[in-house]
Amino acid sequence: MDYFRILKRGAVAAATSYRLILVMWLTALMMVLLVALPLKSILKGVFDRSLATERMLDGFDAGLAGDMGQSFGYLIGAASFGGLLLILAGFLLFTFFAGGLFTRFTIAWGDLNVASFMKASARNFLPFLMLALLMTLIIFAWTALIIGVPVGIVAAVTEGSIMGSRLMLIPFIIWALGMPVWLLVTDHSRRWMAATGSGKIFRAMGAGFKALRRGFLRSYSTMVTLFIVNVLFFGAALWIATFSVPERGGLIFLFFLATQALFILRLFLKAWRYATVSELALIQA
């Protein structure tokens, strides 16, 4: 059973990279805190010792925005602009780390200390960044084409009637079936770059597509599994975080720890995907 063996080997490879994952987590946390801590002190300034935040416990009571007055607008503005900056910076940061991880899963054979990890990340950064930008663009185009266009057409034709909403499931399914393909291409290309040390992104993509063709069923089914696990985890984690409303100091700290554990798990899942694709390539070789 190649399928389970590969997934398992990928998981082991990811799990034994826990030091690197912790480094990634810590770096990302510090970066996000740069924006979050000033936001927190603004919030503290607005609410001081008030009980008014009770109105946020069971869903945000929009009436509270009126009481917050102008500071509500400032907060939302700062949180969204800061968020946008964080997503951009985060994109660079995690693309950087992907370079190190793929090195870890290919040529380093599981032994990569933090300093070497950083070096490998730095070495791979530019080609990885170009590839990530390209593939992200392709995935956006794919999403717009498969979901955006049909949804637009169906909405226009049926004027948003009930028939329309059921029809819209079809593009979503096609979209979801296509996503593992794009992820496989991306990861195979990155693995190729990490393994060969080459920065030629189009050759890497060629290698990625080629790798996809070999043993397609095996790699596709593996990636579908990982994709589903990721989607489910993502949804569940956000759901938990959204609807948890710890009220007091100690509980809030526990909540913080729990969300960070969830994020570390999320990083592990990503590393698992990278490692599994690297294992797939090994078998194919």
């Binding site: 996000v32 919030l43 985060g90």
Partner: protein, 654 residues
């Protein structure tokens, strides 16, 4: 010959009496209109012949009549309506007007030459929305003035309250209509006179309850609805049909025609409900009809009966959206036409609001021009109560797992968030509100202080106030002062002198004043009571307190301040570490007060207005205090933000 013709014409209404809706008239019926009109969808005109009558119920002869010619607001860019910037025509085709080509009184006198336009509100000589007719002979007390006229109404486009778009017709404020003749004393008026204001962008109504016999001829493929009871529909055999309606005791008559209407009918007790909507709007037809039923049920139980056996409401299609959100008592319009996402209860909110006007302006026919708060504010207050009662568990507008919004809070937010909230009192005529404050003041501020009044005198008393208001003033013309008098009577009856000899102190502030209400917890301290320690006659001494448990004795002190100029009685809930709770009452008139609690308890929480009765308080964040520095949960929110950002980064990074 001519005389005979007139006798025949004027006896028509009597002939139609057999088809009356009410055996006993609901109102005095000071005015009435018999109209036969033809819609020409190509020229966008409604031409007709009208006989209108008015009864002089004053004690003095009246030598002139005043009529609204609303459609002339759209006849040029210089009318007071258009000059405000609220409307400009869609090309030259878009102008609208109403013209009287022949005007005669019952004696056959031609009055066409005694018509002239006046502008009582702003003196604008280009405003032709108020017509004065000088009569050949005064109308004596008790006598009836009958006017027969031929008129042509060209509908405007785009639709603002009235007009057409393509083949959609919303025919409102379309015929020459009497102003209200007010005898001295009515609405605290000092001398007799006509009350007939120009058409302003912000107000529409003040009219006598009237009887309408209206027939319209429209193309056969059009579907029509009106505020009247359908008497008959005849095919003319020439591609047109004639529809006859009768309406009694309503303040205005509007109708609509469009080939695309879908018709939904339903019933609530004795009321036949007709819903005209578009194909798209059909999918929310159930919601819409239910919203009307909720409105009927709620106001019937708390204010008074809905007397008419019929009601038509319209969800205009996209092309008729300018007609959305209008009220003509027995016909009104919703908005949204199925385009607004259903979790946002906007369509239901508009439906309930416009339905509510059947009571506030329809039955209780106040003067919207002069006292918009009594119309829009009172109606918004009830709309908010209904929406928050039937939907979303108190959060009627939005109730999703992560966000909620009550209709009452939307109004309050609009008021407290307005930088101009103190620019004017709440008692101005609609066209005099400065700096765009008309809507915020006459809808939202008024509704907010009505909620506050309810909080102070209790919901039960508030309902009784409106029951009494309805009992006394239904099918008459109450003023704001009449409303206040009703409040004073009912509050005195139910609460004695609890609020003073009357509630005028409240209205002086909220209606006639501009101050805001804001109370805050200024500070809380739990200081240990220690024994005496110091220097006495050169020696340092310490007197321990007789109480052995001295280290557990505290002086807990709660400071409350009045930040705003408005003075309202407030409640303060003080909670202690041993679980005790004390509800303090403060008349709120001084600038500050302190509550002190010596003993073994420490104060842990303070909440001003714990039951949220005082919606007028412009900042509720400073209304409470907790000893738990972590309570405000900025830590929780920061955690959520951090996690959300982390997840988003990992999502967008491949």
């Amino acid at each position: 010959m001519r005389r005979l013709l007139f006798i025949f014409m004027f006896s028509m209404p009597l002939l139609l009496q057999g088809q009356a809706i009410f055996d006993i008239p609901l109102s005095e019926r000071t005015t009435g209109y018999d109209i036969a009109a033809v819609l020409d969808p190509d020229s966008k005109t409604v031409t007709g012949e009208m006989t209108a009558w008015w009864v002089n119920r004053s004690a003095m002869p009246v030598d002139h009549a005043m009529l609204h010619l609303y459609l002339n607001a759209f006849s040029s860019n210089k009318s007071s309506f258009a000059a405000s910037g609220r409307w400009s025509p869609a090309g030259d085709e878009g102008y609208g007007y109403v013209r009287i080509s022949r005007l005669m009184d019952a004696s056959g006198n031609d009055l066409t030459r005694s018509m002239h336009f006046v502008a009582p509100d702003d003196g604008n000589i280009n405003d032709r929305t108020v017509l004065q007719i000088d009569l050949t002979a005064p109308i004596n007390p008790g006598d009836t003035l009958k006017l027969n006229m031929l008129f042509e109404s060209k509908l405007p486009s785009p639709i603002v309250r009235t007009g057409y778009n393509k083949d959609y017709f919303w025919v409102a404020q379309w015929f020459p209509k009497f102003g209200v003749y007010e005898p001295a004393g009515m609405r605290q008026r000092e001398s007799d006179g006509w009350n007939c204001h120009q058409f302003h962008p912000n107000s529409e109504f003040y009219a006598n309850h009237s009887v309408y016999n209206v027939s319209v001829t429209i193309p056969s493929d059009y579907i029509a609805g009106s505020g009247g009871l359908l008497l008959e529909e005849m095919d003319n055999g020439d591609g047109t049909k004639k529809i006859k309606w009768r309406a009694e005791d309503i303040v205005d008559f509007a109708w609509t025609a469009w080939p695309g209407y879908k018709v939904v009918t339903d019933k609530w007790r004795g009321v036949d409900i007709t819903f005209l909507t578009s194909e798209r709007g059909l999918k929310i037809a159930d919601n819409q009809v239910n919203a009307v039923k909720y409105g009927l049920e709620y106001l019937d139980a708390r204010v008074g009966p809905y007397p008419w056996p019929h009601l038509t409401f319209v969800d205009p299609p996209v092309e008729g959206s300018g007609a959305g959100g209008m009220e003509y008592t027995t016909i009104f319009t919703s908005a949204g036409s199925g385009l607004v996402p259903s979790f946002l209860r906007m369509a239901e909110m508009v439906t309930i609001h416009e339905f509510g006007h059947a009571y506030f302006m329809g039955i209780l026919a106040s003067n919207e021009f002069e006292e918009p708060w009594l119309d829009e504010g009172v109606n918004s207050y009830w709309e908010e109560r209904i929406v928050d009662h039937y939907y979303g568990d108190g959060y009627g507008l939005i109730r999703l797992p992560f966000i909620k919004f009550s209709d009452a809070d939307m109004a309050r937010t609009s008021y407290i968030g307005s930088p101009s909230r103190q620019a004017a009192t709440n008692n101005l005529p609609s066209w005099l509100y400065p700096h765009g404050t008309y809507g915020m003041m006459s809808y939202q501020k008024a509704a907010t202080w009505l909620h506050t009044l309810e909080g102070l005198i209790t919901t039960e008393t508030m309902d009784n106030v409106f029951r009494e208001f309805y009992r006394k003033w239904a099918f008459r013309h109450p003023s704001g002062k009449d409303f206040i008098e009703t409040v004073n009577d009912v509050v005195r009856r139910e609460h004695g002198e609890k609020f003073g000899k009357d509630m005028n102190w409240f209205f002086d502030q909220v209606l006639y004043g501009t101050e805001v209400c804001d109370y805050r917890v200024s500070g809380v301290s739990n200081r240990k009571i220690t024994g005496y320690s110091g220097i006495v006659d050169g020696d340092s001494v310490t007197f321990t307190r007789s109480d052995r448990k001295s280290d557990t004795l505290y002086l807990a002190k709660v400071g409350i301040e009045r930040m705003g100029g408005m003075k309202l009685p407030i409640e303060v809930l003080v909670s202690f570490d041993n679980g005790d709770e004390i509800l303090e009452e403060w008349d709120g008139t001084a600038r500050f007060t302190d509550f002190e609690y010596p003993g073994t308890r420490k104060v842990t929480r303070v909440t001003i207005d714990p039951d949220s009765k005082i919606d007028l308080d412009v900042n509720r964040i400073n209304n409470s205090w907790t000893d738990d520095p972590e309570f405000p949960a900025s830590g929780r929110m920061m955690t959520k933000y951090v996690f959300l950002m982390q997840m988003l980064i990992s999502l967008f990074t491949i």
